[in-house]
Symmetry: D2
Subunit: 328 residues, 4 copies
């Protein structure tokens, strides 16, 4: 046993400019019909022996939904979230609730919820898919079921947002599903307003939010955290390390992160992964919003979470060669 974690997961970055043409090409080549339910580009970590996993617990991918396409209804025990990057006019139905998807929105599709996606617009939409698929593979607990219909019946429109509309205000008698949040859309406007409000209260180079179950304070899905980090230009954040991996998605802005001494430069649409116990800090060139998923809730509930701030910012020893890297 090593004295500290020796992760197989490697720090890595995928450039939007490399991925986008592949996604468009996939959109041309592959149609969405039963059997080929979703059109996704999985971000495969080079440290994981060819498995299509972004870390040992997390799966990140880009999903492309063409104009006027629908991805059929199914459910599975792996929990998924969608974080919208580009496009408009799409909704995803979750257990009967048709939830709009707009850039910056977080749409969870937790464990065993029915979901389908519907693009009513003339443009494609792309979003980040985050799943706990690698963890569930290890736990050998994957169940899957197709919906009897191509698309599930729609019972309401943004209904969960209507029912959870105020901070600290709970409908009397409201109950939460055991395994996840009853709120099925976290709208970008609300996130953005909250980031600014916290910044006013706190200041500092980075504001970090977690998307949680409004009825319990627990994570939006049980098996990974969903986070939003707003980084203000002017200084590097303190270097920190924690057990478990994170996958960061650059929603807007640009900057660079240092991961175990290696410098990673990023801009809109780029995605990078930080391995367990890696030293990590960030610096924005212009104000940047980084969405992230992390396996922290699993580590916390199993009492394996450790996290610390380094006494000093880590040294920078080199630069990640992203283009070479992502094309290998």
């Amino acid at each position: 046993m090593p004295e500290v974690p020796l992760p197989a997961t490697q720090a890595w970055l995928w450039k939007w400019d490399d991925v986008l043409p592949l996604a468009r090409r996939a959109g041309e080549l592959i149609t969405l019909e039963r059997g080929g339910d979703r059109r996704v580009l999985a971000l495969a970590n080079p440290g994981l022996r060819g498995l299509p996993f972004t870390s040992t617990t997390l799966w990140g991918a880009l999903q492309y939904l063409g104009p006027h396409e629908s991805a059929p209804a199914h459910r599975h025990t792996p929990s998924a979230i969608r974080f919208v990057l580009t496009g408009s006019g799409v909704y995803t139905t979750v257990n009967g609730d048709a939830c709009d998807m707009e850039p910056g929105d977080l749409n969870p599709h937790p464990n065993w919820t029915w979901h389908d996606h519907n693009n009513k617009s003339d443009d494609p939409m792309m979003w980040f898919d985050g799943l706990d698929l690698p963890l569930l593979a290890t736990l050998e607990s994957i169940f899957f079921e197709n919906h009897p219909n191509q698309l599930q019946p729609v019972e309401g429109h943004n209904g969960s947002e209507q029912r959870f509309a105020g901070v600290g205000l709970r409908e009397m008698g409201a109950t939460s599903p055991v395994a996840h949040s009853p709120l099925l859309r976290y709208r970008w406007e609300e996130t953005e307003r909250t980031l600014e409000s916290l910044h006013q209260a706190r200041g500092g180079p980075m504001i970090s939010l977690e998307f949680v179950n409004p009825l319990t304070g627990g994570p939006a899905v049980s098996t990974f955290a969903c986070e939003m980090h707003r980084i203000y230009p002017g200084e590097r954040t303190p270097s920190r390390r924690k057990t478990g991996s994170s996958v960061y998605v650059v929603f807007q802005g640009s900057g660079r992160s240092v991961i175990n001494g290696l410098l990673f430069e990023w801009g809109p649409g780029d995605i990078f992964v930080t391995p367990s116990w890696a030293s990590v800090d960030h610096e924005a060139s212009e104000r940047a919003d980084l969405f992230a998923i992390s396996d922290r809730p699993v580590l916390q509930v199993l009492h394996l979470h450790r996290e610390e701030e380094l006494a000093e910012r880590q040294e920078i020893s080199g630069m990640f060669e992203s283009v070479k890297g992502s094309r290998r």
Copy 2:
């Protein structure tokens, strides 16, 4: 032992028009100085042997703060809430956070938090005081302490609102006090917007909200619930009964409630109490907002909560003679 609860608490109603002149008179007669910290009119239930308690667990009162007055800083183990009825330009400082008080706002001052009240305006303010004083008297657990200064130092302004600005969005690393919500002001706008949103989602004659800890979903204070009920005109709500008492404060609108067959008519500023296991229903003449406190969280945590809807609406057998009653 009786087959069902035989409460000492009596159903009762206090009219705003009866209480207001008394409050004004108190404002003229009594000054706020150390020793006479607060100016309140306690609503004493006639069933409780002359004790100044509204039910066996709850204490309701009207507090009057004159123009340019300050009520000095202290703390106590009984938890208090303020629900503002009239006036503007007042703030209450709670553990250093200066929270605005405006009509319809709920301002909790939970167990052992420092608090003082400050009227910077030229007009008096009146609010409803809700406390667990009778319960804590029974539990023989009342501690009290004056702040070393007349007023505590102000460290922020509506800071808790800034830190809890978005639904389902939690600052990473945020922790809650054990005994109560970290949110120290529930602004009327937010409440009102949430009521309307729920009404759109649900319909029906009544929308009921509970004010909760945004980090846990637990009650805003540990020892009683704070609720807001919006009643739409057109029909009586179903008759229900539950263990434990409630104190209702009419914020706006008018209507009537039936309590164990007796009809109580109410309008803005009126306050009424429902005893344990009483059958209760409401009907609005015009859209009405009823704020309420209830000892339900205590009963729930002790596994003594029972609640049920009656198979049919209760019959009306008589009318509460409020004027005669409240002047007795």
Copy 3:
């Protein structure tokens, strides 16, 4: 509001020699038939305006069950425990499980469990009754129901003891009632063996146990703690004070307690009550076992529990005149 609790409950002691003749007399005068279900002598605290309550939250009493008598089956929301003082050959049936009652045994009859008592011997039995009746009166939550039969059907004999026979060993699939322990008899042998084992591990003048739910660690009943304190002769225990009241029952041994400076001498069968925030310490003349009930779980769950050890043992200022006191 006072700076520290000013309890209405008075420190008091009832002598076994005073109560025993009254209990015997009651045994001669009163028969157990429907309508006069139980034969109990309630210990009424002189500070509580004539109410038959031992403190503001706890009710202590001595129950006398004559030879070949049965106390009929009923249930109620107030939770009860029996702690057996004298007699043998009695069983109490709780939700179908016939539990033996022997001296030193604790038999809980929690919230809404059916229970009847049956004396199959030629001698009377006496036990201490502990209930949360005063608390439930304040909470106006007392429900009561007679069983359709005089005695409930017996489905097993000491069945709960059989199912919870080993420390840290849980039957797979076992579930606990929400409001109380599934273990319905705490046998004296087990308590005594555990006291000695802890004494060997810890030493010191006092060993204190709490009777808990073996599946959750929570209190045996939700609304009060059941405790056993073994006091070894040689020194006074440290003086401590806590919020909430306790009722102590001397099971065996003798000694004295100091409560707010007043000395209370006690021997087998004596019962005394300590008020909220009273300074309390004990000293045994010979090894003594004190059973106690306390409202601590209620105060803890409401975040009102405070407890501290005094820097020095309190001074003794006088002596409680028990005979005069209890006959007043």
Copy 4:
């Protein structure tokens, strides 16, 4: 995604008669000194690409400690348990508490507890090692530390057993570590007595116990369950399936299990593994005690646990060729 779990873990059985000579040979060849801390034979599942793991989450092994040997003190975040098969006169020190190890005893060494093993006898001891090592490898959360001394100082002897000696009896003020049970030895006598007591209460072909934290009812370690199943001869148990894997260790007795239709015959010291969602039932030839570990607590806390009894006992389609299998 598959409709039901398609585990990589294969059903497998290792025969005591095959493993014992290897363990003895290892005892001759390898000495225990810093650097080679432990002498263990890992049970490597043939489905896991050569990894020394028994399932994707669990690691089972046989540890051999020679006469008068000591295995040095260290700690690690993977949690371990020892279940003793043969030998006597050994103790393991856990955070200062020297705990005896005798056949049938369960000795947990949870997450980050210091532990060393000491054989004071003239005979070797062999025990089953159960760890969550594969899970922690996936979670990339393994930390390890050698104790500054070869052996840690001993502060007590079976102290945790002394402090948790009675069912449903908790030392007042006792607290539990967050991540595991404070009880560090589960003695066979207590387990055996509890099995028999439950059998008397329940009857049936199988009695199943879980080893739990006596203060909370949670699992003895956070990351896997420890169980004991006593199987009585006369009939096959019902066929059941559940998510997650189990490793069974035959403590005594003999019989056979059907796993996904394949028959596995077992006797004392044999060890077998059941994969996720496999149909499993057992039948004893003579009364048998099967110790088991399972990842059920992880699946439960992540809301991925599913378990069901099959409507009918599964059919037997073949027989596991254990000798050939285990020597491959």
